[in-house]
């Protein structure tokens, strides 16, 4: 992008052109959590399939289908199918056998309960994954700051996510320097553990030193000044309908809780 255009982009609000992506981050979080909890409360595999299809449609609409599919399938296979597997193993012969393999009987009740649980998990994970794919952390912290959360808390949250990557790079650098000194770092699990253990203390020390310098650098950038901070990058204020949208999903959640308590679902 041309520098002039790039600088001009800061003069207005930061938008993507997609109304769903441009919803206020807190509205999106509200909807994601409400949807997730509804799915958990219903706890039915048929309902779960329907909502998951909706999640995929939303992911396609916001052009995040590839990323969503990857994360969702990882959650489904690792958590969801594992839950089904545990159910099948722990089944006490309830229900009718629908499949048998080497004496291991899969019953319809076990399968149903397993998939109910699987979709319980991915039904909650789905909207959360979608939320994080459509909402950069910096947007969420910006929205929280606008609601009165301190800039310090925002910074701590943001930098914590980045620090995980930085620590990973530091570990990699230390491992490379170990390798150059002839220490074996590749190989089976035990060789790797043996190589990793000695780097824990230099890694911890470098993290402490890094934190100290980072604190000083942020202090040099007026971090401790108490005047209200302004922002170069601003999100557009919430539209009026967003409040009603959030309320709608909250009411849906409350309604689901009531129905659950009444034993209807």
């Amino acid at each position: 992008m041309d520098n002039e255009k790039f600088i001009d982009s800061f003069r207005g609000y930061q938008t993507t052109g997609n109304w769903l992506m441009d919803l206020n981050p807190l509205t999106k979080l509200n909807i994601a959590l409400a949807t997730g909890f509804i799915s958990m409360l219903v706890r039915d595999w048929k309902f779960g399939i329907v909502v998951c299809v909706i999640y995929f449609l939303i992911a396609a609409y916001v052009k995040k289908l590839k990323g969503f599919t990857k994360s969702f399938m990882a959650a489904f296979v690792v958590l969801g199918l594992f839950t089904v597997f545990v159910r099948l193993i722990s089944n006490r012969g309830e229900g009718n056998v629908v499949f048998s393999i080497l004496g291991w009987n899969w019953t319809d009740v076990a399968l149903q309960k397993g998939f109910d649980m699987a979709f319980f998990i991915v039904g909650f994970a789905g909207p959360i994954i979608l939320f994080f794919l459509t909402t950069p952390m910096k947007d969420l912290t910006y929205a929280c700051e606008k609601k009165g959360v301190s800039a310090t808390v925002s910074y701590v949250i943001l930098v914590s996510f980045k620090t995980i990557t930085e620590l990973g790079k530091s570990a990699s650098t230390i491992l490379d320097s170990q390798k150059s000194r002839g220490i074996e770092t590749d190989g089976n699990v035990f060789v790797r553990i043996k190589a990793l253990l000695p780097i824990i203390s230099p890694l911890a020390l470098s993290a402490i030193s890094y934190t100290e310098e980072k604190t000083i650098a942020m202090d040099a950038r007026a971090f401790s000044v108490t005047t209200p901070h302004t922002h170069l990058r601003e999100l557009k204020p919430s539209a009026g309908y967003e409040k009603w949208l959030g309320l709608f999903f909250d009411l849906l959640l409350v309604g689901t809780v009531v129905i659950k308590i009444m034993g209807i679902i």
Partner: protein, 289 residues
Amino acid sequence: MSEYIELKNVTYNYPLTKRPSLDSVNCHFEEGKVYGIIGENASGKTTLCNLVRGLIPFFYNGELEGEVLIDGKDVREWDEAELSVKIGYVFQNPFTQISGVKDTVFEEVGIGIENLGMPKEEMIQKIIEVCRLLKIEELIQKNPLELSGGQCQRVSFASIIAMDSKIIVIDEPTSQLDPEGTKDVFEIIQLLKEAHKTIILVEHKVDLIAKYCDEVVVMSKGTVVMQGSTHEVLSSDRLFEYGAPIPQAAILGHRMTEAGKRLDRIPITNEEAVELIRKRGGNEVWQSN
């Protein structure tokens, strides 16, 4: 020029240490001058920077005795946040000075002025101005985490300069940089000098100190042992006893004096050395051997 920072009999121990890192330090820094601080390792240079910057006593506790006056007021009476704005700070590691939360250099340069609550359009103009001054316009769209050491250091300077601090403390800014990066940093220091900022610069590259600084402070074992004009201090043979770095040109001047071929004065820069040797009659120097 008024005395802006003054240290009177300052002694300081970091927490849990027995040996003072600063011992009866007396020195002063005037407005609008560039000061070079030199000395051997562990002579107290960084501690002096931390003190002037207010990190001692606000960040590092320990025992502080004596008076540290900044604009007439003791450092302990200053508001920590106010001091952080008044006195800018750039230090060794270019990578830890990047906030890590901004996606572009443009936003990174503006982080300090965001924290000061500057209105947006004013911020944008300020950032443009500073980027132009430091010649980092081609970097504004880049991710700060993908920059080289020299580029990071320039961006760090930019974010401090944008805050318009009156005094800037710079602690070994080139120690992790290559010669190209070093040249960039000293170009920035020259710009700050032309803008009449007060600069307190700790450096081991004494040939560059000789070129850019108005005064030099020499430290040894936690004490200020010499302070004076750059030429007066760097040409002095007392630097040998303190283990402080000495400009190449000055070493040459002292060696020539020892060899009985004294120059008009001890040079401190290569250009000065060439001029003095020519004046003395360059051929004659070599012929008598």
